[in-house]
């Protein structure tokens, strides 16, 4: 339980997807123009993460790992292809569910819902999970079961949501500022994200 909580808190603040690893930057910059859509995308990311990560974990430990299917065969080099196939399939499913139950959210997310499939945050979480399985069980980053996976997915999803909603709120205000013409828009956004990342760096000394 203790490990569960520390993994969760760590993945929100210390190992934040955006500020520490730059994962999911493309949709992060493109969809952060207003808070409402940002919130929708953030929730979609949390949901997709929570579904794909446990599935990929089971796939990796039960099917691809050394000696899983056939004695003496290590299929882990196939992990990239299978992970992305699982993610693409699940995103398709989520898209159909959202279209059915919340047409307004579907309309406002538009092109970005299918783009979650190629959102680096989703793929990145699976790849980090693959790395963390091999860590020592004492480390707070260790992932050793489906529940750990869920904690990591929920935590990194929340961290991502926090980052995108924060940036969207700042950008809504920034659009009224008289910045130099060349800096306006993208350049200013990058520098803002940099400053936010610097603020998040103060969590890096956190001992949990």
């Amino acid at each position: 339980m203790e490990h569960f909580i520390s993994l969760f808190v760590r993945s929100i603040f210390v190992d934040n997807m955006i500020f520490a690893f730059f994962l999911g930057m493309c949709s992060y910059l493109a969809v952060s123009k207003n808070v409402k859509t940002a919130l929708g995308l953030g929730l979609a990311v949390i949901f997709v993460l929570c579904v794909t990560l446990p599935v990929n974990y089971l796939l990796y430990t039960k099917v691809l790992g050394p000696d899983c299917l056939v004695e003496g065969v290590d299929l882990s080099f196939l992990s990239f292809i299978l992970f992305i196939a699982v993610i693409a399939g699940i995103v398709q499913l989520v898209e159909m569910v959202v279209e059915k139950f919340s047409p307004s959210l579907y309309a406002s997310l538009g092109i970005f819902l299918p783009l979650i499939a190629v959102n680096c945050a989703i793929m990145g979480a699976s790849l980090f999970m693959q790395q963390r399985i091999t860590m020592s069980p004492d480390s707070t980053q260790y992932i050793g079961g489906v529940s750990d996976c869920l904690a990591y997915a929920l935590g990194s999803g929340l961290g991502w949501l926090l980052a995108i909603v924060g940036l969207a709120a700042i950008r809504e205000k920034l659009s009224y500022n008289a910045a130099p013409a060349a800096l306006k828009g993208l350049g200013l956004t990058f520098i803002t994200v940099g400053l936010m990342a610097m603020a998040f760096m103060c969590f890096s000394g956190l001992k949990i």
């Binding site: 500020f19 520490a20 690893f21 730059f22 994962l23 999911g24 930057m25 493309c26 910059l29 493109a30 080099f77 196939l78 990239f80 292809i81 992305i84 196939a85 693409a88 299918p114 499939a117 190629v118 959102n119 680096c120 989703i122 793929m123 990145g124 790849l127 980090f128 790395q131 130099p180 013409a181 060349a182 800096l183 306006k184 828009g185 993208l186 350049g187 200013l188 956004t189 990058f190 520098i191 994200v193 940099g194 400053l195 990342a197 610097m198 760096m201």
Partner: protein, 205 residues
């Protein structure tokens, strides 16, 4: 012929995938703390993009429209797996430094963007040139950011010390902040600022 040249040259400058189209930012920022991984990453992306462009361009008339994204992802994932295995075999240190970011080339938006926008509509030769151009455009930004970060952050280039000892004795210090994630964002922001100041047509209204 002039068309090919244009296809090759615009992604290097005015239509740069990273600085102008804002694609593939994730990996562009994460691997730039040192020059060597940045260059390897740039080259890997160029090779994968060029090959994936050619393959998709050859298949473009046979891929059913509804499943094209999956087909593109599978082609890219296969190429990335090959590159990742090659890196592990011949450049193990760099592959450790790049960690998960090699695998993340699959979800690099430059790839999907070019495959979708260019390779699905053009012949293999054009696509090859377009792939190389965009890959190099990506690599250029990586190298610029990595150069600044490694020079000011560690005082080295490719791991060799370039800032002379006498400067350190005179009180010069490396800026450790340069090696932290936030500076990558701020440097890229400044590069975009500089590019837009020089080319006013890129500015946002």
């Amino acid at each position: 012929m002039s068309n090919l040249k244009e296809t090759f040259l615009t992604p290097l400058g005015l239509n740069n995938p990273v600085a102008v189209q804002v694609l593939g930012i994730c990996s562009a920022l994460a691997v730039t703390a040192q020059l060597e991984p940045a260059i390897v990453m740039g080259l890997s992306v160029t090779i994968i993009l060029a090959l994936a462009n050619v393959v998709i361009s050859l298949l473009r008339n046979t891929i059913p429209n509804r499943i094209r994204i999956i087909v593109q992802l599978v082609v890219v994932a296969t190429l990335v797996t090959i590159v990742s295995e090659v890196l592990k075999a011949f450049a193990y240190d760099v592959s450790v430094a790049l960690s998960v970011y090699v695998g993340l080339i699959i979800t690099n938006c430059i790839l999907m963007g070019r495959l979708e926008a260019f390779a699905m509509a053009n012949g293999p030769v054009d696509s090859l040139v377009d792939g190389i151009g965009n890959g190099l455009g990506y690599a250029i930004i990586l190298v610029i950011v990595a150069f600044i970060r490694e020079l000011f952050g560690a005082g080295t280039l490719f791991g060799y010390q370039v800032i002379p000892d006498c400067l350190y004795e005179a009180g010069y210090m490396n800026c450790g902040l340069m090696l932290m994630p936030p500076m990558a964002l701020i440097i890229l922001g400044c590069i975009i600022w500089a590019m837009r100041a020089k080319n006013p047509e890129l500015q946002e209204k």
